[in-house]
């Protein structure tokens, strides 16, 4: 809590407004200052260039070539990209993650917001326990989350069998083509809703309670306070988790990859763009094509998110 109040504390923020007195030595000091600023940033900058800029640049470079058995490696310009965006397997994966985001993200956000509002409104020991328990799946690796749900989804030895077989019914094929979408969605909601809930909850806790008092005096009830005061004041958090969720879902990889061996072919090599790129690189050694796929994925996600932030930008947006 110290963090939340520390950030909103006006006395600290006010200190920044004091401008340093103008004097003769200021210019020189500024310049020295500038060099020191770069010194602090330099170690990160080295890692940034080595593990972000360089791989992306190299991937882009590689993606401009095509390796043929007879022809050797030739410069083919954007041929790999033309191939990618007409490759039905890749497009199918793209379409899946887009559909998945469109359904998953609103549900996940509504759930986390709703739970955060409840937890903010009632402060009992039970609600504190609930907050921790709902958050707990975040600490569990996606690999293990998928593994556990894989067992629970099993039609033969999972709990589904116990529910359906006494009724004389066949258990549903949770990992079959009909339900894989919902099953994966459940795994992701289970894993991430708590994390998003905590972010919104922390923001709700940062709101000055005197606002509620004022609203109550004006005759507002709990619902009105939630809708008119709380939600508008946590818009930035909502935007932040929306961006996180979007980036996370478009690069979907671990969960379907883990469920692949037990899903009887439902999860194809082109199930998501990342799985497709992985298959191309490690099963077929198509590194030029895999580079093009990775680069396209990174670039498309980047552009989408940037556009989204640009369209929703307003004063006080979280990225400024």
């Amino acid at each position: 809590m110290a963090v939340t109040t520390g950030l909103t504390g006006s006395s600290v923020a006010g200190a920044r407004d004091l401008t340093p007195p103008k004097g003769a030595g200021v210019g020189a000091r500024q310049r020295r200052h500038g060099r020191i600023g770069w010194l602090f940033i330099a170690p990160f900058a080295v890692v940034f260039v080595t593990f972000l800029v360089a791989p992306l640049a190299y991937a882009f470079y590689l993606s401009l070539f095509t390796k043929g058995l007879a022809t050797g490696t030739r410069f083919t310009f954007f041929a790999q990209y033309a191939k990618a965006f007409t490759d039905p397997q890749f497009l199918e994966g793209v379409w899946f993650v887009v559909r998945f985001s469109l359904v998953l993200i609103p549900i996940q956000m509504a759930l986390s917001l709703f739970v955060a509002l409840i937890l903010d409104a009632i402060t009992t020991r039970f609600s504190r326990i609930a907050r921790l328990m709902i958050f707990l799946p975040y600490a569990i690796p996606a690999v293990i989350g998928a593994l556990m749900w894989g067992f629970l989804y099993s039609p033969n030895f999972g709990p589904l069998d116990q529910i359906f077989s006494p009724l004389g019914l066949e258990s549903p094929e949770m990992l079959g083509p009909g339900l894989i979408f919902q099953s994966l969605m459940n795994v992701v909601v289970w894993q991430w809703a708590g994390y998003y809930m905590i972010i919104i909850y922390a923001a709700l806790q940062g709101i000055d309670p005197s606002l509620y008092e004022a609203a109550r005096i004006d005759g507002a009830n709990a619902w009105q306070i939630a809708l008119r005061i709380k939600i508008p004041l946590v818009t930035n958090s909502l935007l932040l988790i929306l961006v996180f969720a979007l980036i996370g879902t478009l690069q979907f990889f671990s969960e379907p990859q883990i469920l692949r061996p037990i899903a009887n072919g439902t999860i194809t090599p082109g199930f998501t763009p990342n799985i497709y790129a992985y298959t191309q690189a490690f099963s077929y050694a198509q590194f030029n094509y895999a580079s093009a796929l990775s680069f396209s994925l990174g670039f498309v996600v980047f552009v989408c998110v940037y556009l989204f932030l640009f369209l929703t930008r307003k004063r006080g947006s979280f990225l400024k």
């Binding site: 950030l7 500038g34 293990i144 116990q162 289970w190 922390a202 008092e213 709990a222």
Partner: protein
Amino acid sequence: MTSLLTSRRLPATTSSTETRRRAATRRAPRNITAHIFLGALIIYFLIPLWWLIVASSKDATGLFAGTNGALWFDKNIDYVGNFRDLFTFNGGIYLRWLGNSLLYSLSGGLGATVLAVLAGYGFAKFKFRGRNFAFALLLGAVMVPVTALVIPTFIMMSGLQLTNTIWAVILPSMLSPFGVYLMRVYIADAVPDELLDAARVDGAGEFRTFVQVALPLMRPAIVTVLLLSIVATWNNYFLPLAMLNDNNLYPVTVGLDLWQGLASGNNGGGFSLWSIIVMGSLVSIIPLIVAFLSLQKYWQGGLSLGSLK
């Protein structure tokens, strides 16, 4: 000096708003429906964990043909046997995987945090040419999906013959643009310029000012970034999966995936791996759960950092 006083007064104001909040909520009626809803949510979020705890006690027959179903104990409960099998199978390779996970997550997480603290301080407290451009670049990088970098990084590092080494996992894990962003946002508000200037006037060098004056004020944000990056590295799967070939270098996540692949490949042939996979999953999630539960007062506030303005 005034800033020292005001920053010291902060905790007092914190506790007064806290008590006001508590007083306000005590007056609100206890909502039964809300509690039932929360109870249902707790059950939903804990079911897989409950399953894991129960299933770790079973042998292969218990797992697939148990008498009491998937969510209750079988007639023979054998935690000790599964635990022993887990740590002795294949020459005790699981312990090695745990050690690797620990090594990767601590060094990757620590590295990422140190870099983020330094860079965040540089961005927040110094004015220099190119700062705005560099920061815009950083924000752009927050939006590049990490896994889109995995294959390019793999191709680059295999060109340098660095794949299949611990560095192939540790070094890329140190990249955390979001960590830098969080630190910058926090430092800009929590470390007053005046305090730094006062230290400089008193003759402290830049490095000393940073270590002795600024660093103590950043503690909650440092813990948050450290915890987030350790979790991210511990839970990482795609990067080590792509980078490593040698079983002895695998972290737990990739190792369990390897066993899962073997187990679903030759079902029934010889020793069944499923019971040690389940036990291995349980053992591997304990450290992080303990870390989160014991450090909650830090991260709960820290997680809202990125969105508060």
